[in-house]
């Protein structure tokens, strides 16, 4: 027995010592900014978890700012700037961008549930739904970029933190992270791990600004799109999504979202993103959404003036704030 215990301890120690060394560097660098308190998450050099940032910003600043208007959706909500939205709200309203990367209906539902549970006034809401992302999930994501903040998901904080430490331990991440640390500059091979863009997050509204991309387009649009010619693939006209993505679980969450919004007498709008691929929402899914949200639903999917114009996009996934501004004008006219 003694020999067994000794060997087991030795085996564990040999495995744990390098792990502890790596753990201490993780504690020191806090690459995902999930360990310590930050007032401003702007200019991240490691791709962050937007859900964590949004939720933390909300928790830290709610008492001070009394947010009562919320923009919910995926990273595409960066086109819907709280400051642009403010124009359509009453002067006393304080908007907040409550987004998350690859946000699903689960994420929107849990965020609204969280607000409702904490008796936060939800006077206005702008929900952005995306054909390719909103209905891909019915539960929490497992990846470190997408996992939900424990405050909204209700899951354990230790398990949440473990996901990030595990992401840090990934050999690919360690390689890219330390290459960046040593070289001090972004290299193309770091894509997916290191953030190449200069991004700021407004400390009041959480508004996202992709400074360099927007500046580059404004200064020289021809060059911007010429450089990314391969990225913007040729489209062959409007198509309709044949896949019915909304399942029973999604319907339940949609109904709950509607219930919470109605309960709070929220003035809300639901926008279906104008995606570059020009694929229309699945007709059955669309009728399900219409049934839930009626005249509050605005469909910008498929081929239209927004999706036809390539200069409305940063790349094929994200459209620019000018699109958001025009959509706001349309839906609030």
């Amino acid at each position: 027995m003694k020999q067994f215990i000794t060997r087991l301890i030795n085996f564990s120690l040999i495995g744990i010592i390098p792990l502890l060394a790596v753990f201490s560097t993780y504690l020191y660098f806090d690459p995902f900014k999930v360990l310590r308190h930050y007032n401003d998450y702007s200019y991240p050099y490691v791709i962050p978890n937007r859900d964590y940032i949004s939720t933390t910003m909300f928790i830290n600043n709610y008492k001070k700012n009394n947010y009562n208007s919320f923009i919910l959706g995926s990273s595409r909500t960066l086109a819907f700037r709280p400051n642009s939205w403010r124009v359509y709200l009453s002067p006393k309203d304080t908007p907040f961008l409550f987004d998350a990367s690859n946000e699903s209906i689960y994420g929107i539902y849990t965020k609204l549930k969280y607000l409702d549970l904490h008796k936060v006034e939800i006077k206005n809401a702008l929900l952005l739904l995306c054909r390719d992302a909103s209905f891909s999930n019915t539960k929490n994501h497992k990846g470190h970029l997408f996992i939900k903040h424990p405050a909204t998901s209700g899951e354990g904080n230790i398990a949440f933190q473990f996901v990030f430490f595990k992401a840090y331990l990934s050999p690919k991440f360690l390689f890219n992270f330390y290459c960046y640390k040593i070289l001090g500059t972004y290299k193309p091979f770091m894509v997916g791990y290191i953030e190449n863009r200069k991004i700021t997050y407004d400390t009041l509204t959480n508004e996202i600004n992709v400074i360099d991309q927007e500046t580059e387009i404004i200064q020289n649009p021809a060059e911007y799109y010429a450089k990314r010619k391969n990225l913007f693939y040729e489209r062959t006209g409007e198509k309709t999504d044949s896949l019915q993505r909304i399942t029973k679980k999604h319907i339940f969450m949609l109904q709950e979202i509607k219930r919470i919004l109605n309960k709070n007498n929220t003035k809300y709008k639901v926008v279906l993103s104008p995606l570059y691929d020009q694929v229309k929402f699945n007709p059955s899914d669309l009728s399900l959404l219409k049934k839930e949200f009626g005249n509050n639903l605005y469909d910008f999917t498929g081929k239209n003036s927004f999706t036809d114009n390539i200069t409305n996009y940063y790349e094929t996934n994200h459209f620019r704030p000018r699109v958001g501004d025009r959509i706001l004008k349309l839906i609030y006219k």
Partner: protein, 482 residues
Amino acid sequence: MLFNSLNFAIFFPIVFILYWFATKKNLRLQNILLLVSSYVFYASWDWRFMFLLVFSTFLDYFTGIKIFEATNNKKKLFWLWLSIGINLGFLGVFKYYNFFAASFAEGLTQIGFKANFGSLQVILPVGISFYTFHGLSYVLDLYKKRITPERNFINYSVFVSFFPLLVAGPIERATHLLPQVLKKREFNYSKAVDGLRQILWGLFKKIVIADNCAEYANTIFNNSADYSGSTLVLGALFFTFQIYCDFSGYSDIALGTARLFGIDLLRNFAFPYFSRDIAEFWRRWHISLSSWFKDYLYIPLGGSKCGIWMKIRNTFIIFLVSGFWHGANWTFIVWGFLNALYIMPSIVLNTHRKNLDIVAKGRCLPTIKEFLAVGWTFCLTVFAWIFFRAADVPHAFRYISKIFSGSLFTFPHFSGIGSAIPIVFITGIFIVIEWLGREHQYAIAQIGTKWYKPVRWAMYYSIILAIFFFAGSKQQFIYFQF
């Protein structure tokens, strides 16, 4: 409490330390500790069903003594049927009531009557099929005078409730486990190391292979209408490895855990996907259940010692019952029926005991004949798993008809196929390791045991790292629902 959970990682070392240190090797204390920890383990699932486990244990303990003490066969039979009736009654209510009620109502509707028997909104108590079969084997063995009753309730309860096997087997026999419960247990170093090694391999199978394959299998099966025939084949293959690694992984962890307490459990899997015919497959897949049905159903029905028609009938009965044991759904019954059909030629031709040893024993590679036989048996098994996994029988038929369409010859594609490539590669390595270790209890039982310690430990660290980096999203063990 899942074997692959933080709770179990805390629970298990505590029980282990108490078992070997606090009890001072006192058998009575050891058994009390095992019983208490087993009940804690079970209660962590759902404490409300504890009464069922305790009642079932007490019932078989009591009827067991009564069967033994009965002065004539009539009385023996009375106590035996009382135990069987109540045990199967519980199983029937909790597991099969809704199925029978719905099927009967549907049958009446077909002939023009309207009926609604309602449904029971109860969850299935975890492990009920397993501990019920434990208890039944005990009373049946007593009736057959293979054993004498255990009069110490604690010892008997440990036999029924020993936590490594409580919720998903192996289905133990009193003749095998009870003597171990009654015998003084000494710590054995090599046995303990072997147990840890088997746990490690079981965790790898479950967390890396099964949990990852589950994600892809779920995606493909749940959206089968949208995918090509080739993708559906891939989905069936993912499920084939999911179910094997899930269940055999669980069994490995159970066997390894029990070995750390000085107890050997029955082997449950013996590399079934390397079988050369279906009869061999069933000697290697869920061995404890197959042998249970053989001993307590097939043989009492007359087994193979009667005419060919009786043999065929008995074979169909045990496969249908085995299918039904898995769950209250027609898919399992069709799966059982299909396996009975598969095995029928070897029953009729009396070749079902042809392949008793492992394929290519003592050789590195199989012969072409062996390779083809293994491949064919594997294909039949994959085909049958489609019924096992499908939501219902029409879904299975739609799935199969789509496989045998023109799209079978297209390149498979499904959402997330990119992330599946490393898992396919790891599964390939896993198959090679299983092949290399196929002559032993489990794949890595002997691999590396004679290597230098640093190399051997490096192998263990590699497996741990693989578990860490390639862990799929946590899934419930499939067999918990049975």
